[in-house]
């Protein structure tokens, strides 16, 4: 089997992840719920992962890293807590439904939304931010990289704009966390939302958000916090304010081990490996007659994603044949990103996404190229 679906979730992980999770299953209690050995072990473990996430994303205070079940919960927390009726928000057609649907819900509640378009390569012109600005603009919400095209957004350019106009910048780093550097404080990001199970190589059920110092972000969920139990209201201190209910300590143990691997190997090396594999694949399929590629494949910085269609074939058929005939795992369909599909004209048949891990090999890439060529040749 060749797994080329790492943008959906990691399958290849450092073995330390599994070991750390198994160890945690037998050793940790509930973080923040007591003072005995196992609960302290859980609290120490969780705090250690906070420190690693803070180090990875350039957050000086680990207390400003709050864990959630996934990036969708993090984005719902950020958008749900910061956008008010009457506010105007700017986003782009490249966004995932985890950004779009919380924004649509805000729109239904009285917020205003401007969605920046993309060109034929799926690139957004962020010079258009100025034209989109209104007196009531409160935030720009943007994904660091498109989960469909792999195009990467120049966050510095966006943050220069948001900082100069006093706007909030909320970033969805689902496709870049662990793959591309993001220094939250240098970039002036107000809320950075991440998932643990893709580029960070942790288990599913992990994710979170990093919140800029001084930003008051009301919680999405309230309930048990382990602190201030007799208060009627949920506590306001970070990170517990955004972590109602028992944390996924076992998952965070795995995420911590994955972060150790990532920080030890170095994100630059991981990105260089993934980028080389993605460009090898793109270069291989580019010359196959009938293959249509999407995205700005020649951009110097990209997420390790290559998306294509073959002839007039339905994307689901291509992905089905790749699995049936070559045991290659890819994602077909709409990828939860409806607007960029419309922009690229792939809303009817979807597109086939190949996404790469630093654990894939060149031999696997070459077999995948051949499998695409075989399908294209047969039509």
């Amino acid at each position: 089997m060749i797994y080329l679906d790492s943008a959906a979730t990691a399958l290849h992980r450092p073995p330390e992840v599994e070991r750390a999770m198994c160890r945690a299953l037998h050793t940790i209690g509930n973080a923040g719920r007591g003072a005995h050995g196992p609960t302290l072990a859980a609290a120490r473990l969780v705090y250690g992962v906070r420190e690693k996430v803070a180090a990875l994303f350039g957050v000086s205070d680990p207390a400003r890293v709050a864990f959630t079940a996934n990036v969708t919960q993090a984005l719902n927390t950020a958008i749900g807590g910061l956008i008010r009726p009457g506010d105007h928000v700017i986003t782009t057609v490249c966004e995932h439904n985890s950004v779009l649907r919380p924004l649509y819900r805000k729109e239904d509640q009285g917020a205003e939304l401007t969605i920046l378009p993309a060109d034929a390569l799926g690139r957004v012109d962020f010079d258009a931010l100025g034209d989109a600005l209104r007196p009531n603009t409160r935030a720009v919400v943007v994904g660091h990289a498109s989960n469909l095209t792999g195009n990467v957004v120049d966050l510095k350019k966006v943050s220069d704009f948001t900082r100069s106009h006093g706007l909030l910048l909320i970033v969805d780093a689902a496709q870049t966390a662990g793959t591309l550097p993001v220094h939250m404080e240098d970039l002036g990001i107000d809320v950075l939302c991440f998932t643990g199970h893709k580029g960070l190589m942790g288990p599913q059920g992990t994710g979170g958000l990093c919140v800029r110092a001084g930003l008051d972000l009301p919680p999405l969920l309230v309930g048990g916090s382990g602190i201030r139990s007799f208060d009627r209201a949920h506590p306001s201190q970070l990170p517990e304010a955004l972590e109602a209910g028992t944390l996924n300590g076992h998952g965070l143990a795995g995420l911590g081990a994955a972060l150790d691997y990532l920080l030890d190997r170095g994100m630059e090396d991981i990105h260089r490996t993934e980028d080389a594999l993605a460009r090898r694949f793109a270069g291989g399929v580019r010359s196959i007659p009938g293959v249509t590629l999407y995205g700005d494949l020649d951009a110097p910085v990209r997420a390790p994603i290559v998306t294509l269609n073959v002839g007039e074939l339905d994307a689901a058929e291509v992905s089905g044949r790749l699995w049936d005939e070559a045991e290659i795992c890819v994602r077909a369909g709409a990828h939860c990103a409806p607007l960029i599909h419309r922009a690229l004209g792939t809303q009817e048949r979807g597109a086939v996404r190949f996404s790469f891990s630093c654990f894939n090999t060149e031999a696997e890439i070459d077999r995948a190229v051949q499998a695409v060529a075989d399908i294209a040749g047969e039509g």
Partner: protein
């Protein structure tokens, strides 16, 4: 027979503050340990950092220098 000592009990707003205290103290060779908050004290978090009163007096400037957050410092007799 164990004897009670005059101790400083540092309380916290959050579990995360308590964890930060423990981590920085261990790194910096600062004495003390986490205990459940004694019933005489009201605190946001159920964990507290226990040091002897003498240790607290000695290390207090270092705790401040490290910027460690805590809710309050109470003095009491503890085993």
């Amino acid at each position: 027979m164990r004897e009670k000592k005059r101790c400083a009990v540092l309380t916290f707003h959050t579990t995360t503050e308590a964890m930060a205290m423990e981590r920085r103290c261990q790194e910096g060779g600062i004495p003390g340990r986490l205990i459940p908050v004694p019933k005489e004290i009201t605190a946001g978090c159920g964990l507290a950092w226990r040091m002897t009163a003498e240790e607290y007096e000695r290390w207090r400037p270092e705790l401040e220098r490290l910027g460690l957050r805590f809710q309050e410092a109470a003095e009491m007799m503890l085993y």
